[in-house]
């Protein structure tokens, strides 16, 4: 646990030591803010559905961008050799880095809480539960995409390649439930269950179902497992 915290702190420090984190947070807040407020008064409804539908789209590009260098940069610079020869387990290394990316995403989500505050001032009959579960869904979805992003980063020593692979994989899980019409009916259930959007929409309705939680947590664990395996694979290459 101590090693995870040390890597987490170092990673977060390196995010904020470069303009990367600030650019991410500012642009994330501006894009979300623009799309949310654009339709907020037109819809004239006291909910945050507009935000909850735009954030997954923004995630598609932002999370692979934030996570692309997390491991690939270490490989490119050679610093992975430093990390891997410190008395730290590879799993702790991956978890520390993952938690740093996830924290950055949570801080990004937190910037959108300004819209919630606005809503509490101007709205009526606000369903706070649905908003909370919507945020929970977004956080979990961000968690899955961050795990995918880190996995992509572990595949290469080139950040751009990691970014492209990250977007490609994230896009697959994002588009799965949009493309159900093209899938044979026998497979539709499985494909729908695998899509992140399906589980997000379930949670966003205000129902926190363990099936959705298990899906998100399994996806995160699966990609972090693959990432750890990739980091360890240097030993046997």
């Amino acid at each position: 646990m101590r090693s995870i915290i040390i890597i987490f702190k170092k990673e977060l420090h390196s995010f904020f030591a470069s303009p990367m984190a600030y650019i991410f947070l500012v642009v994330f807040a501006l894009v979300n803010g623009y799309f949310f407020t654009n339709t907020f008064f037109l819809y004239d409804q006291s909910d945050m559905r507009a935000l909850f539908s735009i954030v997954p789209l923004v995630y598609l590009f932002f999370i692979p961008a934030v996570s692309m260098g997390v491991i690939s940069r270490e490989k490119g610079l050679g610093t992975i050799e430093i990390l891997a020869t410190l008395p730290i387990r590879d799993l702790d290394l991956v978890l520390g880095k993952y938690l740093a990316v996830f924290t950055l995403i949570l801080v990004g989500l937190l910037t959108s809480s300004i819209h919630y505050i606005t809503l509490t001032f101007v709205g009526t009959n606000i369903d706070h539960g649905a908003i909370f579960s919507g945020y929970l869904g977004l956080a979990l979805m961000g968690g899955v995409y961050a795990a995918i992003g880190i996995f992509s980063s572990s595949l290469t020593d080139n950040q751009v390649v990691a970014f492209i692979i990250g977007i490609a994989i994230v896009m697959v899980f994002f588009l799965m439930d949009q493309l159900l019409v093209f899938v044979p009916s026998s497979m539709a259930g499985i494909v729908q269950y695998l899509s992140t959007g399906f589980h997000l929409s379930n949670i966003s309705r205000g129902v926190i179902d363990t099936r959705n939680l298990i899906y998100f947590l399994s996806m995160i664990s699966f990609f972090l497992f693959l990432t750890t395996h990739n980091v360890e694979s240097r030993k046997w290459s």
């Binding site: 101590r2 090693s3 040390i6 170092k10 420090h13 390196s14 030591a17 470069s18 610079l77 050679g78 610093t79 050799e81 430093i82 891997a84 020869t85 410190l86 008395p87 730290i88 387990r89 240097r234 030993k235 046997w236 290459s237």
Partner: protein
């Protein structure tokens, strides 16, 4: 004590390290010498646990690198080749990060920091960003990071490559200093560097250990030859050639005539010194010896002999 046992590493079809074995004792400075691609870095990476051996093992105080790599890594300080660093970090933060991963508590960190800063000459750059430091400082920082936890074993992969002569002298002095209390294993492809720094040399070639010992031992064991340069006044080429029949241990390499003397190059095994016989032979034939100088084969020629495939050179 570190014991390397039949250590082997294959990268696909390429056999990078071929079942090497050796022991390193505490307080020893050992140089790992070999041409580029000989398998030095691969061996060091296996000892530090960065990569796993295909076969064999590394034993440190009863532990082995396959089962107890975290425990062994706690005892090792490692400076990888090319000294990778986080250039955006400050020197202080970087050393603190290393100290934290080594379990050094806040109170102990101040002490550890001031020791490595003093030992490695980092005064004045502790609060500087690493990217803004000179190459020499970066190299010293890499060493400081490897030493922050006062490890028993220090492994340095090409610690002086790319440094200027003054910086090389500084790093060499530092390695010698820390080598008094630690086991230091340093690799290099530069013979002079190894010779000037270490107590013992291990030469690796094509993944195999081809020599192991102090530089004197290597020279003695090399079954090398001594070159003798002889300049005489009064000799004839035929008579000189006949010397071989009287003194069988010598080989006459060349004979050349100067204005009024003959230059002769003779080779003989280190084990049989024929100089007295040559002297008597010259006296018997009425030659005057103007010069007789013997030069033993040096480590460089031994290294070249051992590490050049199928080519024997006696430079």
């Amino acid at each position: 004590m570190v014991r390397i046992e039949n250590l082997t590493k294959n990268f696909g079809q390429v056999k990078a390290v071929k079942s090497i074995s050796f022991e390193l004792k505490d307080g020893e400075i050992v140089g790992f010498l070999g041409a580029n691609g000989a398998g030095k870095s691969t061996t060091l990476k296996m000892i530090t646990g960065y990569i796993s051996p295909t076969a064999g093992n590394v034993h440190v105080d009863g532990m082995n690198i396959i089962d107890d790599h975290l425990e062994i890594q706690k005892q090792i300080g490692y400076l990888p080749e090319l000294n990778p660093l986080y250039t955006e970090m400050k020197v202080y933060d970087y050393l603190r990060f290393h100290a934290e991963t080594r379990g050094i508590k806040d109170g102990e960190f101040t002490q550890a920091l001031s020791k490595v800063v003093k030992d490695c000459g980092l005064q004045g750059i502790v609060h500087r960003t690493i990217g803004n430091c000179s190459k020499g400082y970066k190299q010293r920082l890499g060493l400081a990071a490897a030493m922050i936890h006062n490890p028993k074993i220090l492994i340095l992969d090409e610690p002086v490559s790319g440094l200027d002569p003054n910086q090389i002298v500084e790093i060499r002095r530092l390695i010698k200093k820390v080598g008094k209390e630690k086991l230091v294993l340093m690799s290099s492809h530069i013979l002079q560097e190894i010779q000037a720094t270490v107590d013992r040399i291990i030469i690796i070639h094509n993944g195999e250990i081809v020599a192991d010992g102090t530089s004197d031992e290597l020279i003695a064991d090399s079954q090398g030859l001594t070159h003798l340069k002889l300049e005489i006044d009064g000799g004839e080429e035929d008579a000189i050639q006949e010397m071989k029949a009287t003194i069988p241990s010598i080989t006459i390499q060349s004979i050349s005539r100067n204005d009024d003397s003959m230059d002769i190059l003779i080779e003989y095994p280190n084990t049989a010194d024929p100089r007295k016989d040559i002297f008597r032979y010259a006296v018997d034939h009425g030659w005057s010896i103007l010069e007789m100088s013997a030069s033993k084969r040096d480590l460089e020629s031994i290294f070249r002999n051992l590490t050049q495939d199928g080519v024997i050179t006696d430079a």
